[in-house]
Amino acid sequence: MIDAVGNPQSVLLMGGTSEIGLAVVEAFATDRPLRVVLAARASERLDVAKVRLEKLGCAVETVEFDARAVETHSDVVRSAFAHGDIDVALVAFGLLGDNEQAWTDVDAAVELAQVNYTAAVAVGVALGKKLSEQGFGSLVAFSSVAGERARRSNFVYGSTKAGMDAFYSGLTEALRPEGVHVTVVRPGFVHTRMTEGLKPAPLSTTPEAVAAIVVDAVRNRRELVWAPGPLRFVMSALRHVPRPLFRRLPV
């Protein structure tokens, strides 16, 4: 259960090796040890994540999850809930891909769309159903500022996040009467494995800083947060910049 000060007792991480996702789990676990379910494909990175959380006193289970295998997602979510309620579910899987390849190669584009959008929708539907049955819970979906306005440099990724963001924003409203709180998180440039070697954008941040924002959002039942916070104002300005000007901006 989530207690009066917003501490959860159990967390499910869809995308069990996500650096941002794991940082959120760790941030919750510093106040209280948790029961954690990591959903990911078996890998060395997953084993490392499990050991790291166990060192914090968490009880960790793993569930086999392949974002590409959409037909398995209902079962994956069902087995994640098999050993008790899930208080906070994090949807934190995704691919950045190579934009130039993605808009010129059908297979690369479809893979991005399937993992970032189709799988996110499938998982969202399955999680929404389980959390509604529970009558409470928090669902956190990691979108991106890239979904707010498509840029030439990563518009395929951006388009998948735009769809995913719209779906979870709608799910926020749909699940509200069921007692389930959905939070959409829009991080900017985060220094992780995913962005290694890329040139950091302005207002870049770290997984730990994003985690602090997410923990606060869950505790205060916020529905949309940006990481870092000031991105909200930057993006709401950028969204209205005319195209001829926008394409000249160094963003």
């Binding site: 207690d3 009066a4 106040d31 209280r32 529970q134 009558g135």
Partner: protein
Amino acid sequence: MPNTSLRGWGRTAPTRANVVPVRSAADLTGALAAAGPRGVIARGLGRSYGDPAQNAGGTVLDMTGLDRIHSVDAESGRVVVDAGVSLDTLMRAALPFGLWLPVLPGTRQVTVGGAIGADIHGKAHHVVGSFGNHVESLDLVTADGRAHTLTPDDELFWATVGGMGLTGVVVKAVLVLHHVETAYFRVDTEQIDNLDDLMARQSVGDEEYAETVSWFDAVTTGPHMGRGLLMRANHATLDDLPPKLRRHPLRFDAPQLLTVPDVFPPGLLNRATGRLFSEVWYRKSPTKLGAIQNITQFLHPLDIIGEWNRGYGPRGFLQYQFVVPLERGDVVRSVLEEMVRAKQVSALNVLKRFGEGNRAPLSFPKPGWTLCVDIPVGGGLGPLCDALDELVLDAGGRHYLAKESRTTPEAIRRGYPRLDEWRKVRDAADPTGVFTSDMSRRLELTS
């Protein structure tokens, strides 16, 4: 009302449940038979601060419709009441017969069923014990739909007293009330300017009073830290009353002045307003002996203001109440110091010395000091309370389940060493685990 969002008096951690009104035995057995995998819990007036009367995804029985007072026997003091009757209603019915409910908590807006489930206590605990001590028998409907009349000779009776509704549903009870001549108190108030003096004064002469409690200020620091009011009273006799009150000595004198609107922003209670409130509260009652006061003035000053919990704003608040053995009164000061250090504001702090506890394995009171503080929910509160838990548990203390909303299963196991004994009786009464609540899941009270 199916699928309703419920929360406790602290207005934190809402969850949704299918709320089923219970107005008859048939309603109850029907609801139990229809219980789904997420189980059932009974709810009264929702005055518990946390989540014991919530059941996320399951069924919550609204017991307030089961509200008949069956009989009042002026001679013996025996009353037969349904579980959904509030203590306020019961008092209004019993007072004309010269009968007084011996155990009254900080509000009268609790049901008889809830009072049994939480084994509530009042300012008279050192003399009369807790609510369960005054129950002659109770009717409990267990998970199989069968009704049992239980007396203090039954183990299940004591598992139900303080059992937070997890043994079954109390539908009716026989209580034994006390005889009084008037509805008024003869109150001695002492204004004392620091915590040590307050506790020292409270440690002598309590047995001469039917009711004792102190309020103190947790905002002022330095030499006047914990300055407060020691308030002790006996029931006034007819001779004690001024002529004006003597005409209607048993009149239930309990006014409510206003209801707080639900418009407060978060952070309304801060250090500045907390200091102001503490100053006013301290100044309003200079030392005065033998004052005649009505029930609201003495027992329930907060009942003057309806829905006062709204004053804490949308994020809600929690009440932290614990008991520590008498010889560990130092914990009271340590808790206060920790709160000041963490810059948390508690406007109303209530300190009381408990007398002997009863046989119920999960009953909260035991001989010792009990302190409760109200704290608005905000940043840093979780870690502070976790630190306070350690102080309390290391001293051999425990938490009050009716007010608990955030501790750990481990803390409850440490504070209630008879938990397993209770579980055994509970599991026998409810082998398939029909009765469950957000609290029982959160604190792992049931397996």
